[in-house]
Amino acid sequence: MAVVDERFMDLNMGPQHPSTHGVLRLLIKTDGEVVSRVTPYIGYLHRALEKIAERLTYPQFTPFTDRLDYLASMNCNLAYALTVEKLLNIEIPRRAQILRVIMAELNRISSHLIAFGSLSSDMGAFTPFLFGIREREFINDLFEMVCGARLTYNYIRIGGVAQDIPDGFIDKTKEFLDYFPPKIKEYNDLLSYNAIFIKRLANIAVISPEDALDYGVTGPNLRASGIKWDLRREEPYLMYNELDFDIPVGRGEMGRVGDAWDRYMMRIYEMEQSAKIVRQCIDMFQQGDHIAKVPKVLKVPAGEVYVRAENPRGELGFYLISDGSTKPYRLKIRAPSFANLSIVPKLSGGVMIADLVAIIGSLDIILPEIDR
């Protein structure tokens, strides 16, 4: 029998809890309001995606990548398509590349909107969450135009995109680009620079650059710690090297570099940059095919690749081993949130229960990606 430490109380948070963003379970040892240790328990959404990949053909697995990180389905589609294309060694038409970038960046915005909204509702302000959803609905409409789905798109396929964009999509996107930037100012006025919000997040759960690297933290969380590392810039894929955009890094505006507020603010800055990228892509548009010639029965040459792409939550990597058949021999999914969550026990010694909610919210984890 386990020895019970009487100084601490065991508190079970989740898997059904309003602020664990899904089915995360945290076992907390607390001394009153102060948390002494947190043990995350994951796997409540383990759907065996890696096993499924081994039993399905390459194109069949694309829809499952939608369900990997459902807030950024396009980005997941993209990373998977890039992986398979790397082994296939095929050229992607220019128009398809532009479309992919547009979709990926729009999806980044909509994903960050949820991150923004869910953190705000974790902090007790429910209204910004609904404002975020309001703008997200706009993007959902755009995606619905191109592929008919609101959440799980299966739009970016191996070799290109599923179909060309419909009439009016460009105009609607431009409309969105005019509509969206003023809203960011609204978010900042309402939430980002709210004194209570800053007080709740500044200097909370500071991730030092060393820790971030040790735990493999990536994406906005890594950049908030002051490390300028964005795969769109470091290992450019598609046509990101032609695009002009900034990579925001944490500057410790309200507290120390790498605190929860910095992590939150990275998302706000990145939304601006993504809007900028989409605008450039629209100007670059040109006629052409939307998908390269891909055989009906896709036999991928034998080989091993690890391909990674910058997702809203960080580095999504696929490690693919092909034995030359129609099915992957092994597909390992390197999910950003998995690494981002693994740092939680380290961050949460000595914080308060309310801070724990802020930590989880500011890391912007998503469970299906962690559990796969």
Binding site: M123, K199, M352, I353
Partner: protein
């Protein structure tokens, strides 16, 4: 109406003790029923109003399907809650668990008694009215702790502990700021306080405009009052994203409804105190009511009084749907480091003012200057 009953009691003073006793009981029962039905009706509409206000702020509509404009929403909610299964958790402390909601509700309901709705409409005119309300509403914290402890749920316990700490702490700035207002009319009697504020076009002799210290006292009072009724940004006892539902996590059906109604009842009470002590109670602004028929004047006074209360309640709702919530230690910091010292200073200032100007307010002094 109350006047009428008082008259009857006056007339029967000569009759036998038996009849007198019976009449007293009858009076108590009737007035309780009147106040209770008023309170329930108000609480119903308050929940409806809250949802509508929230909808308005959050770019939604709010209830509109249940009855015209969704007005019957609270009826449906109430009846449904009545029909729910009454669960008493197996490990609960049964008696504490059962009586806690009733005590909460009784305490908030009892505070309706000394309020003066108009010149003649009131239940009981006590010479310790303000003190009585403060005393009675303090019981709430005890009952919340009973419920929280009785639930035998860790989240509830957290909520209960937080609630008690918060309510007990914030009572100090509340009382100090009320004292700063009370020393102007030098009475604890609600009616005396309101009568003191007559004249000055029905506005300028309000205690809030009496001197700078009372103005400050109002803001201290209102801030602390929001904390007293556990609403955002001070809603940490039932912080949804942290404590699931706080102290009423385990309560179902009608028992939960009592907690819920008590919250709205408390909102009414704190707003009523603010309206009485700072905003002239039922004094009608800009209209001289002396010439009016009695019924019209009384009705107008009730309407004016309720309007003042509802404006304050609306402000509370507005704040709730705008601000994030504080952390528990920041909440205590706000109380003990800021509000309490300022309230002390304010009380001293107000006392000095009363000494210096012989109890006269700014309006009195200025008008005296202009007359001479």
């Amino acid at each position: 109406m109350i006047e009428l009953i008082n008259n009857i009691i006056g007339n029967i003073h000569s009759s036998t003790p038996m009849i007198r006793w019976l009449v007293y009981v009858m009076v108590i029962v009737i007035s309780s029923v009147i106040v209770l039905s008023f309170a329930l009706l108000y609480e119903g509409f308050a929940t409806y109003a809250e949802r509508k206000v929230a909808g308005d702020i959050q770019a939604r509509i709010g209830p509109n399907r249940v009855g015209p404009y969704g007005l019957l929403q609270f009826v449906a909610d109430g009846v449904k809650l009545l029909l729910k299964e009454d669960i008493i958790p197996f490990y609960a402390d049964k008696w504490l668990f059962i009586i806690a909601p009733y005590i909460v509700f009784t305490a908030s309901f009892a505070a309706f008694v000394p309020l003066s709705y108009s010149d003649h409409v009131y239940v009981a005119n006590m010479n310790v009215g303000v003190l009585y309300i403060i005393a009675v509403s303090s019981v709430v914290s005890m009952a919340i702790l009973m419920g929280a402890w009785g639930s035998n749920n860790k989240w509830s316990l957290f909520g209960g502990m937080r609630a008690v700490a918060q309510i007990v702490s914030y009572e100090i700035p509340i009382i100090l700021s009320l004292l700063a207002a009370i020393i102007i009319p030098s009475s604890l009697d609600m009616k005396d306080i309101i009568l003191y504020q007559s004249g000055g076009l029905g506005i300028f002799r309000w205690i809030i405009f009496n001197n700078p210290f009372t103005l400050l006292a109002f803001f201290i009072y209102f801030t602390a009052a929001i904390a007293e009724v556990n609403r955002t940004p001070f809603d940490i006892p039932e912080a949804e994203s942290e404590l699931v539902a706080g102290y009423h996590t385990e309560y179902t059906g009608m028992r939960f409804a009592f907690f819920f109604m008590a919250e709205y009842g408390d909102m009414f009470i704190v707003s009523a105190i603010a309206a009485t002590l700072f905003f002239g109670g039922w004094q009608i602004p800009f209209i001289n009511g002396v010439a009016m028929p009695l019924w019209l004047r009384e009705t107008l006074q009730v309407v004016v009084f309720l309007t003042k209360i509802f404006v304050l309640i609306y402000v509370m709702m507005w704040i709730r749907w705008t601000l994030p919530r504080l952390r528990v230690d920041q909440l205590m910091e706000l109380c003990w480091k800021y509000l309490t010292p300022i309230a002390f200073f304010d009380l001293i200032g107000a006392s000095v003012w009363v000494l210096l100007f012989n109890g006269k307010g700014v309006y009195d002094i200025l008008s005296a200057l202009f007359v001479h």
